[in-house]
């Protein structure tokens, strides 16, 4: 093929092929969801529930009722931040699976700190300050896995998971001992007054946390795709040996990735506490982290796509609570749907690769 012929080809098709690629990507992302909902319907039938009613209640509660929609949007905030956290780590080829521990520990510190700080500082200062502290807490909790990975090559999947268990336990210890609010009977931290929490948007129950989440995930997407720093991280992820070859400080970058990723997980914890709960009860652990991982994979580490999937999942989980209750199923049934999506994601991925190989042939 000559140079001229190639550039001509390029001139003729870029728009069409870009659209095609886009359409294929969207289809590849949506197909697992459709299949999962289909198989989920079969399982519901087998359990004696009416799948139509089940999905109807999900949509009605999670999307179509104003109260439910507010809950859904509010739920998006921590999920978006956790998604951003994972995008940073996964794009850099590092598996930070400890975000639940980082999230919870930061949440507890936020819950302990905020009610005390509002007595001495103005609220507009306390809220960002607590967020920064929460990020630092999250980052600190990832330091050990980061250093072990960066300088001793210890598998971060194991260490971050272990640190996550430790973090969850430590958070409970903190709630039950030093931060326990003596005025309540159940062990929990002091409660941040509703007026001191993150401001609500337009008289709704939605707080600005979702705006923070959106801003952060868009920023992270931009950071990873458009900046030199993001490119260096992607280089580490795509080919660590090339990173060494071109002279990148591999260890320092890895520590930075962990700090950023875990910091965002910590921020998610702060936003959830400062915006929604105001305190942390003992044994509270929403385990958003494990649920967001499949979504980030479905979105193929693309920040914009994560926004869509997070919203979808938020509808599913808010609406699912109602739908499960009405169908007489445990709330965990939503996790079955998520698991099915992941299985079908893997399948479509595999088929896509086979198709690609066939096309290359």
């Amino acid at each position: 093929m000559t140079q001229a012929a190639m550039s001509q080809e390029e001139r003729h098709h870029p728009v069409a092929s870009a659209w095609r690629r886009w359409a294929v990507a969207v289809a590849a992302a949506l197909l697992p969801i459709v299949l999962a909902l289909g198989v989920g319907a079969l399982i519901l039938l087998a359990l004696g529930a009416d799948p139509g009613a089940f999905y109807y209640h999900i949509v009605k509660r999670g999307l179509l009722s104003w109260i439910g929609l507010q809950d859904t949007i509010t739920r998006c905030a921590p999920l978006l931040l956790l998604g951003a956290s994972l995008i940073v780590a996964f794009r850099a080829g590092l598996w930070n699976l400890g975000i639940d521990g980082q999230f919870l520990l930061a949440a507890v510190i936020s819950a302990a700190l905020a009610p005390v700080l509002v007595t001495v500082l103005p609220v507009w200062l306390v809220l960002p300050l607590v967020m920064v502290v929460a990020m630092a807490v999250g980052a600190l909790w990832s330091l050990l896995p980061a250093l072990l990975k960066a300088y001793h090559g210890v598998n971060e999947i194991v260490t971050t998971l272990m640190m996550s268990f430790l973090g969850i336990s430590a958070a409970n210890v903190l709630i039950k001992l030093p931060f326990d609010d003596p005025t309540t009977t159940v062990p929990q931290t002091a409660t941040l007054a509703t007026d001191d929490r993150l401001p609500r948007l337009f008289g709704s129950t939605i707080n600005v946390g979702v705006a923070v989440g959106l801003a952060v995930i868009l920023f992270i997407h931009w950071l990873m795709t458009r900046t030199a720093f993001g490119l260096r991280l992607r280089l580490v992820g795509a080919n660590p040996r090339a990173a060494v070859h071109v002279g990148l400080p591999l260890g320092a970058l890895m520590v930075a990735v962990f700090a950023l990723s875990a910091g965002l997980a910590g921020l998610a914890g702060a936003v959830e506490i400062l915006g929604v709960w105001g305190n942390v009860r003992a044994d509270w652990n929403p385990a958003y982290g494990l649920m967001i991982i499949p979504l980030v994979f479905l979105a193929r580490f693309n920040g914009i796509a994560v926004i869509g999937f997070v919203f979808f999942f938020a509808v599913l989980s808010i609406g699912g609570e109602t739908a499960s209750r009405k169908a007489g199923l445990p709330n965990y049934f939503i996790l079955v749907l998520v698991a099915l999506m992941l299985i079908f994601l893997a399948l479509t991925e595999w088929l896509g690769q086979r198709r690609q190989m066939a096309a290359r042939d």
Partner: protein, 529 residues
């Protein structure tokens, strides 16, 4: 390495062909990889398929081995038209393939690797596997350490295991894809003996190579592919009539249609416009690369390279050349020694600082560390300048600048690629190397270390790369040329240092007697420095 090694009386081609490819055509978007290629493969005959990178050899093999389906044309096996729908079909039809890239598991033993092919339902049968292995090993005239982990074997031995695997089910056709590319000269010799035994045992061997002398050395019959078409072939009878040099001349004509630069050696040497200058650009004194206890003796490595000089580093692969190159580039620490670039000590500087000082390293591991396959070509061309102006401003990428830069380099170095946005992994080996050279030679280098710059390339790209090296040297670039190809060193270098066991055992001027002296130093005869 002459044709005399072939038994001239050997009856080849007498039998009916076992495989006949007829008018095989395979198109990819924008390219015709195979254009009506016809090929006969006879039992008890080595059919050498020769062609440059991108000539369509790999496509043809993948059709034969069931990885791809032809768009047109037929494959006849033992006289019957067959459809090779999958690699499994190919094996069922008795076609075994040894691919260019290893397909075995390094941590498993030789025996275990061979048991992998068995059905997952079948119980593992060590004794039977061992017996079959012994049987094939006897056929090949080789001995393999059956219980050693595969990774502990030399590359040559690993390849023998691949051959054993390809013949496991009594395959009668063996395809060897660029089988010599990983091997030492000794390994090539050993492989040659194995191929001869296979042929004598009646097996049809399709030997794919881009190296002319190998095609002539191993092939009973030679076919030449060029730009997807078979441009000619030499039957055993024709080959037998021609003297080796005549055969080579004939094949070169086929391959390059008279445009070949066969006297490239003389030409590129004559191309050196300038004699090396007096100014010392790189001085290496007592350098001991870290990390390899065997490499580098106590004294370390010392040499100097002048402005515009090509300093060749010869030696059999694995004698510390890579460690030396990495230590010079800053990728690997040093235990002792000094490196001076243009009067300033750089041994304490980082990789990036050395790059900024004007030192470049063209790695031999092009895909492993030199490039990122998933990234577009444009970014690969700037991989060592991430964050630098004008391509990034305040740390934000300026795609227009990146693309402009990429287009300029792609045009200048004739990288065959649809566009700067194409992932580098889609490029052929020769074009990856062009891109790599384009990157390293861009932006006024002062000194360049080339590690095996033409390894694995086809003739045209070899000449192109060598010309680029010479041109840069003429512009005053101090050049360190590490190569295991002695001819290349003799062709390009002004002076030649020889490495053995991590030490520089001698430095000789590249004059009339250099080949003999360098050869002696390489194998450990001759004076030690």
């Amino acid at each position: 390495m002459t044709m005399a090694s072939r038994p001239p009386e050997h009856a080849t081609g007498a039998a009916e062909p076992i495989v006949v490819l007829r008018d095989i055509t395979k198109r990819f978007p924008g390219v015709v990889a195979n254009d009506r290629v016809s090929l006969d493969i006879h039992p008890a005959e080595v059919h050498a398929l020769l062609g440059e990178n991108g000539a369509g050899k790999s496509t043809l093999i993948s059709i034969l081995s069931g990885m791809q389906r032809p768009d047109a044309g037929t494959v006849e096996i033992r006289g019957r038209t067959m459809r090779i729908a999958s690699p499994r079909t190919a094996l069922d039809l008795g076609i075994g393939t040894v691919y260019q890239h290893p397909t075995l598991v390094p941590t498993l033993s030789v025996l275990e690797n061979l048991m992998l092919g068995a059905s997952w339902r079948a119980p593992m049968n060590r004794a039977a596997t061992r017996a079959r292995l012994d049987e094939i090993a006897a056929l090949l005239g080789i001995a393999l350490p059956e219980d050693a982990p595969l990774g502990s074997l030399s590359l040559g031995q690993q390849q023998l295991v691949e051959i054993v695997k390809a013949l496991w089910r009594g395959e009668k056709v063996l395809i060897l894809d660029e089988a010599t590319s990983m091997l030492t000269p000794q390994g090539v010799e050993d492989l040659g003996r194995v191929i001869e035994r296979l042929r004598d045992a009646g097996i049809a061997v399709l030997f794919i190579t881009h190296k002319l002398h190998e095609a002539v050395r191993f092939g009973d019959r030679v076919s030449v592919l060029r730009q997807g078409r078979k441009v000619g072939s030499l039957s055993p009878e024709a080959l037998g009539r021609l003297a080796p040099q005549e055969a080579i001349d004939h094949i070169v004509d086929l391959m390059f249609g008279g445009t070949a630069d066969r006297t490239g050696a003389e030409r590129s040497r004559a191309h050196r416009a300038r004699a090396p200058g007096e100014r010392m650009v790189i001085e290496v004194d007592g350098l001991r690369p870290a990390g390899d206890p065997d490499a580098a003796g106590e004294a370390g490595v010392s040499f100097a390279v002048h402005e515009g000089e090509i300093f060749g580093i010869a030696g059999v692969d694995g004698n510390g050349q890579k460690q030396l190159a990495e230590a010079l580039a800053g990728q690997r620490g040093t235990e002792a020694g000094r490196i001076v670039l243009d009067g300033a000590a750089i041994e304490g500087l980082s990789v990036r600082q050395r790059q900024h000082a004007g030192l470049r390293y063209v790695t031999d591991d092009r895909l492993g560390e030199g490039t990122v396959s998933a990234f577009p070509v444009g970014l690969n061309l700037l991989l060592k300048r991430i964050g630098d102006a004008p391509f990034w401003r305040h740390g934000i990428i300026r795609n227009a600048e990146v693309e402009r830069h990429a287009r300029a380099l792609i045009a200048e170095h004739d990288v065959r690629v649809p566009g700067p946005g194409t992932p580098l992994g889609h490029l052929s080996g020769g074009n990856v190397q062009k891109a790599l050279l384009a990157r390293e030679l861009d932006d006024q280098p002062m000194a360049v270390i080339y590690n095996k710059p033409t390894y694995g390339l086809d003739l045209n790209n070899i000449h192109r790369a060598r010309r680029a090296i010479c041109e840069r040297a003429d512009e005053g670039v101090a050049t360190i040329l590490i190569s295991t190809d002695l001819d290349e060193i003799l062709e390009l270098a002004d002076r030649i240092g020889v490495m053995l066991d991590g030490r520089m055992v001698g430095i000789v001027a590249n004059d009339g007697d250099a080949a003999r002296r360098v050869g002696e130093l390489m194998i450990g005869v001759g004076a030690r420095a």
